[in-house]
Each structure stands twice: as C-alpha cells, then as structure tokens.
C-alpha cells in the first residue's frame, strides 16, 4: 500500500512527539452517483506551536480533512473510512464522537470561512463568547461577560465594552471573523484549525486577520492548521505546507523549501498561475484542463491528464509520497518524476 509513510514532525529540533498525528485518513462521501473519496490516505503531523498550511483548490479534499479532524464529517453521507487521528497520544477515531466533542474548545478549536453563518444571529456576541465560559468553566454571568470583553479586546475589536452587546449582523465581515477567532480561542485550545478564514474578506482586512492569527499563535504557543487555496496568503505564517490534489497529498515539507524547490508539477503549475506583483509581465503558464471528477478518477497519478511530465509510468501506478531526491528528508512529493521536475525548475 502506498502513501503510508509517516512524516517526521519537522526538520527543527523536534519535540518528543507531535501534538496531532494523522495516519492514512480516508474520508468518503456517498452521493447518488456513487461514492467519492474526498480524502484518500492522508497522513500529517503537527508539532506543538507549529503552523501547517493545507493548500488545495476546490475539490482537493482540504475542507473534508478539516471536518474529519474536528469530528464534523456530515453523516450519513460522509464518513471516515479508515485511518487514525492521534491527538496528544489518543486516537480520536477509536473513541466515541463525544470524546472529540469534549476536546473541542479546550484542546481543539476551529474557525470557519463564513463567520456569519457560524454565529447565532439572535444572540448578542458577548453572550455567545461568554457562553463558553459559563458552560465549560462554570463562570458566572458577570464573569463571562468580563471575559468576553477581554477576549474581544485581545482580537482587536474596537470599543469592545460597548460592542459586546451587539448582534452579529451589526459587525463587518472582518470584525465577525475576529469574533469567531475570539470564540475559538476563549478556552485556550492547543490546536486551532482555520478553514479559509479570510476568503470572504477584503485584502486589507485579510492582512489584519493573518497578522492577528500569527500574533496569537506566537503568544499562546498554539499549533495551527491553516487551510487555504492561496499559496501567498500562508507564506508569511506557516512553517510547513501540505498540498492536496483530488484527495491526495501531492507535496509536503518546510514551506520555504517547498516554495523554492517545487518538486511536483501541480505545485509548480499553481505557482506559475499566480501573476507577480513585480518583475516583467509575462504570459501566465497555467495548468491545462480542470481538476478531475472524483467519480471518474484517471488511472495512476491523478494529475496525469494535466501534467506535462506524464509518461507511461504515471498511467500505470499512483506515485508514493517520497522524499525529494535532492532535498531534505522532510520535503516529499508524490511524483514519479520529482527529480526531473526539480532539475527542470532549476535550469528554467
């Protein structure tokens, strides 16, 4: 079986064991037209205080991965078929869902893409933030309110003492996302999963939120899984990246190493698709075609029909996620021609 390699935590002086270690996670969704494997034997590690960026386009399975980590895969259509999610030494999948639920907030927390639909529209935000303290910490009403104001101040909501009594619709998109982050951080989780936290926001507000996440992460020595489609967005925050394509991990490693030495044709295609902000304006060299239909996956490597390096070997077998020959052990790519891709990138 391929793709079973367990990644070392990081290249840095590694902590004794990763906070979160996912092995061979497979998530499937039943649709009327057939079963699709949204996440296909994905493994990842996140160390204490580390930020992992999970990158991919629509249909790559990155959001299904996040749902699986939080125990939020929508049933009965979706289910985790196999794999292990080891959080701090406990396999969450071996425990009942209620176990994961108990960890939510205090250990794990999540920030979603659309803050408006994640907030209760008829409750004041202060009440929604404070409820966490009341329910989980047994705080009094006044205490919870004080804590809510404190948190709102910390996430940069101006005039927090006044705005604590406002309803979600009275906040702008950026401020709502701050409220969501405040709620996620209320109980000081050790791992925060942020699923496209800035996609709905303007670029200046996006920069604010990313700055906030980076600051908070440093302050709490919190681990962060940042899920995004934007290669540039995560560059300033993430330590490591993991790129997904059609449910599989195609490339992973230290962010800088991966971005400098693109070892998978897909990663390379994505990079080439981003118009630059400096330098000459050249014609873009995008990836041809569209992502595959998960119901009709091509044989062998899933990226093969769109790949310029594809050969017979790619049709015959799915490539394993293996260390890139010339790079450090942590840089892995799932490509039969990784060496070629790297060499081509260096010469080009």
């Amino acid at each position: 079986m391929d793709g079973t390699a367990i990644l070392p935590a990081t290249g840095r002086p590694a902590p004794s064991r990763p906070l979160l270690s996912v092995q061979d996670l497979t998530v499937q969704f039943g649709t009327r037209a057939g079963t699709i494997t949204a996440v296909d034997r994905v493994s990842l590690d996140v160390a204490e205080g580390e930020t992992l960026a999970v990158l991919g386009e629509t249909g790559s399975g990155k959001s299904a991965l996040a749902q699986a980590l939080m125990g939020l895969v929508p049933g009965p259509a979706g289910r985790v078929v196999s794999g292990r999610i080891n959080y701090d030494g406990t396999d969450l999948l071996a425990r009942p869902r209620s176990y994961t639920r108990r960890l939510c907030g205090t250990e794990l927390a999540m920030v979603f893409q659309d803050p408006l639909s994640s907030l209760n529209p008829v409750l004041r935000v202060g009440v929604q933030i404070g409820e966490l303290f009341r329910r989980r910490r047994g705080a009094s009403r006044a205490e919870a309110r004080r804590k809510a104001i404190e948190l709102m101040e910390r996430v940069g909501i101006p005039a927090a003492a006044r705005r604590v009594d406002d309803y979600p619709h009275q906040f702008s998109g950026g401020m709502r996302q701050r409220v969501m982050i405040a709620m996620a951080l209320a109980l000081r989780p050790r791992l925060l999963i942020a699923d496209e936290p800035t996609t709905a926001l303007d670029v200046t507000v996006q920069a604010q939120i990313m700055q906030l996440l980076a600051d908070l992460k440093a302050e709490h020595r919190m681990s962060l899984i940042l899920i995004s489609h934007d290669l540039g967005l995560v560059a300033g925050v993430a330590d490591r990246v993991m790129l997904m394509y059609a449910g599989r991990v195609v490339e992973t490693g230290e962010l800088r190493e991966v971005y400098q030495t693109l070892a998978h044709p897909y990663t390379r295609g994505l990079m080439a698709s981003i118009p630059g902000l400096a330098g000459p304006r050249e014609r873009l060299t995008p990836i041809t075609g569209s992502p595959p239909d998960l119901l009709r996956l091509p044989s062998g490597c899933r990226f093969r029909p769109r790949c310029g390096f594809a050969t017979e070997a790619c049709r015959a077998s799915q490539p394993d996620l293996l260390p890139v020959p010339t790079g450090p052990e942590s840089h892995r790519a799932a490509c039969h021609h990784a060496e070629e891709v790297v060499a081509d990138g260096r010469s080009g």
């Binding site: 969704f29 649709t31 009327r32 037209a33 699709i36 949204a38 629509t58 249909g59 399975g61 990155k62 959001s63 299904a64 929508p74 259509a77 979706g78 659309d114 639909s117 449910g247 041809t288 075609g289 569209s290 992502p291 595959p292 239909d293 998960l294 119901l295 009709r296 029909p305 769109r306």
Partner: protein
C-alpha cells in the same frame, strides 16, 4: 454561492469537472428524486377521475330530467330494469348515482381547470407586473390582493349568483376572483427573487426589452412554484365548487355536479346513505390526491417554499 449549503461535502461543489474535451456525459436527470412514489400514486388517482369524467358519461348515459320512481333509493349493487348494474345505487328519483357522479366529475373538473386557467392568468400577470416593476404598481396591485383576501368568497358567490343567477360560467368567475391572489403572491415573490439574479442582469446587458425579460427570462424560472400552487389550488377549487353547489349557489340543479348530488342526498341520509356519502368520498379522494401531489411537487421542485 448557493452550493455552499451546510452539510454539503465540499468535493461535490465543483460538480462534473474534467478537461474541456472530456466532459462526463450529461448527469443530473438520473439521480433519484424526492416524492416519486407520492407523485405517481396521486397522479394515478387523478387520472382515474379524469378518464371517468371523459369516458364515463359516454358509456353510461345520464339524463338529468329522467326519473324512474320505481327504482328510487336502491342500495349499491342493485340491478336496474334495463339490465345494468347500479354499482353505487340509485338516488331519490331512481337515477344511477355512478352515472351522476361521472357526469358530475365532468362539471367539477371543467370548472376546476377553467378556474385554474383564468385565476392563473390573472394572478401570474399581476404577480409578474408587481414583482418586476415594484414601486406604485406593486403597491396598488398587492393592496388589491389584500382587499380580495379580506372578502369572503362565499359572500361574493351569493352576491354574484343573486345578480347573474347560478351558472357554470358564473361559478368559474366567482372561483377565479377568489383564487387569483395565491398565484399573484407566489409569482410576485418568485419574480422579486429572480429579477436580481445575475443571469437576468446578463440578459439585460444584451439589450433585452422589458417584455423579453419578463416573458422569456423571468417567467420560465417561476414555473415550478406556479405549477405547485396550481395543483393545490385545483383541489381547493373543486372543493369550493362542490360547497357552492351544495348551497345552491354554484352549478344549477340541471347540472349534476357533486355538490348538487350530495345536497340532494342530504334528506335521505338515514335510509339511503350512499347518495351523499359515495360522491362525498369521491370528492375527498380527489381533493386529497391534489393535496398530496402538490406537496410532493413542492418537495421536488422547491423544498424551501413555505408560502402555502
């Protein structure tokens, strides 16, 4: 984006996606859809009634003025002097109840469909105009609808029947006046939602005139909910027609609609239950079928519609 409904797996959002030249074959019509069984069953029942209304009176002649006093009030299953079997018995003047019911189904369904067409035409027109133009047009038309709703249709029927006399045409007019508002409201709310959609703007930027936008772009997108409303209204109309006829305000006694038959049998309930009961059951079955059909169609086409 509307595809981001909660609980939808993200992977299905991008739908069929392949290279420009290897699109998957057309999908979407093959998946099972909600309400299939209910739609089939209720349609079958409705079809039975329609067939009975169309063919029945040809096979089993019914003469509204004929009497056969020797065979009055015979229970279901009696054999008549002409050799035929009175499956549903005979009434107080010796008429076959089944023949009368089939003739009545003709009246009921004709009145129902005619009302539907008239009310639907008025209602959809008003709804499209109000929704599309908004402003004072909307205000005037919708206040008119409100006034209409506050006016009991029974009262209106008495009023019209007393002026024009009871007739099938008058019945259609009364029922149309009572029912166009439903069409107008549903159409208006649909138009309000659709006219702001990007594809309508896109057609507008092509230079389309108002008429083109209303009839070719907006109206076709409203059809599903209108069909749902029509189905439910048809049931209501048939029931209302029977009620009015029962009260003597609808079809004249010479036209044996179900309401008339039920009313006639009222005096004989103690000794000849079938005269009122059997047409009553027939009416109930038909109206319930339309209700079920409407519900099922709504589930299929417009699960969020709550306007009924």
């Amino acid at each position: 984006m509307d595809g981001s409904a909660a609980g939808m797996p993200q992977v299905t959002d991008d739908g069929p996606a392949a290279g420009p030249d290897d699109l998957p074959p057309p999908a979407g019509r093959t998946r099972g859809r909600p309400g299939g069984l209910r739609i089939v069953c209720s349609l079958l029942v409705v079809a039975c009634f329609v067939v009975a209304a169309v063919i029945g009176p040809i096979l089993l002649k019914y003469d509204p003025v004929a009497t056969n006093l020797g065979f009055r009030l015979k229970p279901p299953g009696t054999r008549l002097p002409d050799g035929s079997l009175a499956v549903f018995g005979t009434d107080q003047v010796g008429q076959d109840v089944l023949a009368q019911m089939m003739q009545g189904a003709r009246v009921s369904i004709t009145v129902g469909v005619a009302t539907l067409l008239l009310a639907g035409f008025i209602g959809v027109t008003v709804g499209v105009l109000a929704g599309y133009f908004g402003g004072w047009v909307d205000a005037v038309l919708m206040r008119l609808a409100d006034i209409q709703l506050t006016f009991p249709s029974i009262l209106l029927a008495i009023f019209i029947a007393s002026i024009l006399g009871p007739s099938v045409v008058n019945l259609v007019i009364v029922l149309s006046i009572a029912n166009w508002v439903t069409f107008a409201r549903v159409t208006r709310s649909q138009v309000l939602g659709i006219k702001r959609r990007d594809f309508v703007d896109a057609t507008r930027t092509l230079g389309a005139r108002t008429w083109h936008l209303m009839t070719r772009t907006i109206l076709p997108s409203c059809t599903a909910p209108i069909v749902v409303v029509a189905t439910v209204v048809l049931g209501h109309v048939i029931l209302a027609e029977a009620s009015l006829s029962f009260l003597g305000l609808g079809s004249p006694a010479s036209t044996p609609s179900w309401g008339v038959t039920i009313a006639n049998g009222r005096d004989y309930l103690s000794n000849a239950w079938w005269i009122s009961t059997i047409p009553g059951i027939g009416l109930a079955v038909l109206v319930i079928s339309f209700g079920v059909l409407g519900d099922a169609l709504r589930d299929r086409f417009d699960p969020r519609m709550t306007s009924l």
